[in-house]
Amino acid sequence: MFTEITELLVAWSEGDREALAQLVPIVEAELRRLAKSYLSKERPDHILQTTALIQEAYLRLIDWQNVRWQNRAHFFGVAAQMMRRILVDYAVEQKALKRGGGARHIALEELGEPAKVFSGRDLNIVDLDIALGKLATLNSRQSQVVELHFFGGLTLKEIAEVLDVSLGTIKRDLTLAKLWLLRELG
């Protein structure tokens, strides 16, 4: 059933840029739908706390629970990367539009004010992406754990399964990666 998504993801991971382009509008439509639902509620921050909504959002995009893929690690890895790429590109674009449009791709270092409070709304996804890239050169698994958790929406248990290491190791990786990223984002 998920052949098409899987094919698109695999094609993209193999360098087919078209494949990503086909996924982008769907993710963006979902983003807008979610954003709208926050707008229509009285207290968006409150909704953020409900895990049900988060689950729902991911289920809408990719039916993770039902994916019994022969190469799970590869699939989840690629899916999380896809989500990272799309969301980061989207953040870059939004910033560009805010600055008056025109240049769609502006230099990364020109972007955004430094993020100070990390309660979701103030998290600068573009900066996080850059920091995550740096972390990968120091410890690639830590960077991967963050990618799977934050962009891929996987639980720690699922990550342990996907990367085939113990849950304890994943917890350690995530804790240390967060500390490092927090310091890096200052």
Partner: protein, 626 residues
Amino acid sequence: MTPEFYEQVCQICYNALQCEAAQRSGFLDRACAGDASLRKEVETMLAYEGRLDSFLATPALIVAANQLAQAMEESDEILPGDDQRMNGARPILSETLAGSFAPGVTLGGRYLIDKELGRGGVCAVFLARDRKLHDAPVVVKVLLNIWQETAQKTWMEKKFKQEIAALARIDHPSVVRALDVGESPDGRSYLVMQYVSGRSLRSVLTAEGMDLGRLAKLARQMGRALAAAHRQGVIHRDLKPENIMLQSLGDEEYVKIIDFGIATIHDMADAPDNQTTEVVGTRSYMAPEQLRGKPVAASDIYALGVIFYEMATGQRPFNSESILHLYELQRAGAKLKPRDLRPSLPEAAQSVILKALSFTPHDRFANAKDFTDALADELIGEGARLSPPGAFVGPRRWSLILLLVLAALIGVLASSRFSFRDKAGLERTQPPPAAAPDRYLSYSVEARRDPRRNPRAKPFITFENVIFGEGDEARLYISSPQPGFLYVINQGPTQTDGFPNFNILFPGMENGGASPEIPAGQIVQIPSPDRNRRDNWLVFDHEEGVENIWLVWSERVVPELEAVKSWANPKDQGAIRDLAQRVSVLRYLATFSAVRPEFERDEVGKQTKLRAKGGTLAWGMKLEHR
């Protein structure tokens, strides 16, 4: 920083986190052993300990959506459409609405509010009585005030008025008629429409599908109505059986399309071309471009295609809760063609429906009337008249199920986008010679409830119509008055890649594979008594689904199935897991669907007797587990 140094920092950091606060400083002294730069790195990282729980606790998608919401709030961006129906949330209800439109209130000195019928995304709908026209029932539709911003409100008001104007221009007997417009004392525009009595198309849909002649008549009317709306620039955007009303007048049935509630004006001058609208409506009927927020007139044609598919077969071509998944299913095309489910549907009519379900709007019909006229013409052609609707439904329900299983197989094969070459090359080498004697085979199922939970449960003989739970067990007894060669293959539930797994149940895999040869009259037990399974039963695990067990009974060795045998893993219950091999097996088994055996059920002995022409008999039986 080098990876090695970072690892050192990590080690110390993590151990320090496990320390009691009081011991931490002492621990760092010892661990860093006077290395000042190491200590500084560790300490700057540890300084963020308090933020560990909140940082990255929210998935990126939600974070991004929130930021987008914030940006929308700050900017004057207008959000056309609405998604309230989809997430089940209620729009912000306004107190004044309740007051001005409360039961008993008369609007414009003419329309007496009776009750609220429902509330959609942007509108509330009331039933009212026309005081000037003998209290005739009418429907009053009012725009809800869900927008805080003046700009959005103005935009919606304008859109609503344009919709009213457009609706008023559509003059077609199958489109609900706009009767009047007005403004309530609190300044809301409202629209008065014809009240449509009758029943909805939904209420007349059945699992067997509709009479094809009736389908033709209804389709023609629906197409004409939509074409009239499209000519006025109105896209319905929410076509579904619930919005198609049927009214009977004498022997004739008339269609009335209602709820242009979220219809939008697509030639609106002031909405930017590339503005995407929110995804609204019932998704199963939505065209792919509408899922992406860009509905066009051809999206309505797609929705009609889905509706006709459902009218003909009782099923919708695509079903998924996930937008992305639905979109992918749409891209892949209907796995089950309408004729797989309704063989009496003329081939040409099927082609017409599938054309309307084209992924790309451009590939569909350009005009709703052309579409439905083409469909109706094909439906009332020769083919439809020769095979009355429902003729394929066998005397028993399960024969239909088996047929559906076979149809599903053909559907999977026909629409499979796997284009890799059939590595295994399981083309049927010998079509069954017509002169060969008939083949006979009998089988029965023995079932037992989970013996661990029900230690006293006794096995019982049954047909395959029982439903198995986790831990329940089954086995088969197969025999024939003729000698021959038997292959039993289990086809499991469809996997995420769209193809099922297979297991060879017979012949056994031991010692390099046993012989499929069976003497006349011998009863074969499956799983074989010598197999190393729990008490030699097939045990159902927790996974839900349907096991299709294929019995192939041939007068000679079947080379294709000997090849299949060689792929099976003897250490894994004869499992075949390789994708290419699974596709080959599926293709091979599907070749048998054209030659279905005749069968007879012996109600006393719970035995099914099969008879087939030619040298080979193949039968798919279905065991369901939940």
